[in-house]
């Protein structure tokens, strides 16, 4: 699966994208977020507070209980501030 990070999530994670296999035991977007936060210190800073992170799967906004597939493109970002 392809992961993409934007704005301060990207800065804190120290990368804008990566490819990883669907981790074992990860079923939903919320599971993935919790898994990412456990990976290392940088990722813990980026993903430590799920309440301020939003997600999109295959370029559509989704909630944290959205179920993931192996070939999904998943983006994590702060609430949007355009306009």
């Amino acid at each position: 699966m392809k992961l993409i990070y934007f704005a301060w999530v990207r800065e804190k994670a120290g990368k804008s994208k990566e490819e990883i296999p669907l981790p074992e035991g990860v079923k939903t977007v919320g599971d993935l977020l919790a898994w990412l936060a456990e990976r290392d210190e940088k990722m813990a800073t980026a993903f430590g507070d799920p309440s301020i992170i939003r997600a999109a799967v295959n370029q559509e906004h989704v909630s944290m209980d959205h179920e993931l597939g192996e070939n999904d493109e998943i983006a994590f970002f702060p609430p949007v501030t355009g306009g």
């Binding site: 993409i4 999109a56 370029q59 983006a75 609430p79 949007v80 501030t81 306009g83």
Partner: protein, 155 residues
């Protein structure tokens, strides 16, 4: 029509283009968003950089425009949103709604910008004397967008 671009736009020209060949249009309502000077420009700050999610941005804006067209009898509509580094006074966004009558144009224009602010994947990085910081989303923007969700449910 939707456009996501780094280049500036000319609002007058955009509106004239929309109206000149369509005599069924009786009213046009436009909203333009600009980079506001918070007082940092004297110290060399005040600029902002807009990041976006190429691909999803276009899809989200097209969906917002389709929603407006489904809800109001529009002759035409336009959303232009810029990305990249912008200075105080620069244009950021333009939304235009054209209809036979003013009510649809006013309401659709208001809807377009309210939904865009909470659904289109853009993020603002502001520069000031202390450095750069990411703008936080405002709950009043969510409330403004929610207002349109409620009216949809009532229908």
């Amino acid at each position: 029509m939707i456009r996501v671009q780094a280049e500036d736009f000319d609002m007058g020209l955009e509106i004239s283009r929309m109206t000149r060949d369509d005599t069924a249009i009786g009213g046009v309502c436009a909203f333009a968003g600009l980079v506001r000077d918070f007082g940092d420009s004297a110290a060399g700050g005040g600029a902002m950089t807009l990041e976006h999610y190429p691909g999803m941005t276009e899809k989200a804006l097209a969906e917002i425009e389709a929603q407006a067209k489904a809800r109001w009898p529009l002759q035409d509509s336009l959303i232009i949103h810029r990305y990249g580094r912008l200075e105080p006074g620069d244009n950021i966004v333009l939304v235009v709604a054209a209809s036979a009558h003013r009510e649809a144009a006013f309401e659709a224009c208001h809807f377009l910008i309210d939904w865009l602010k909470t659904k289109a994947p853009f993020w603002k990085l502001e520069e000031n004397a202390d450095g750069a910081h990411w703008v936080e989303a405002k709950s009043r923007d969510d409330a403004a967008a929610d207002k349109w969700s409620r009216s949809e449910e009532k229908e």
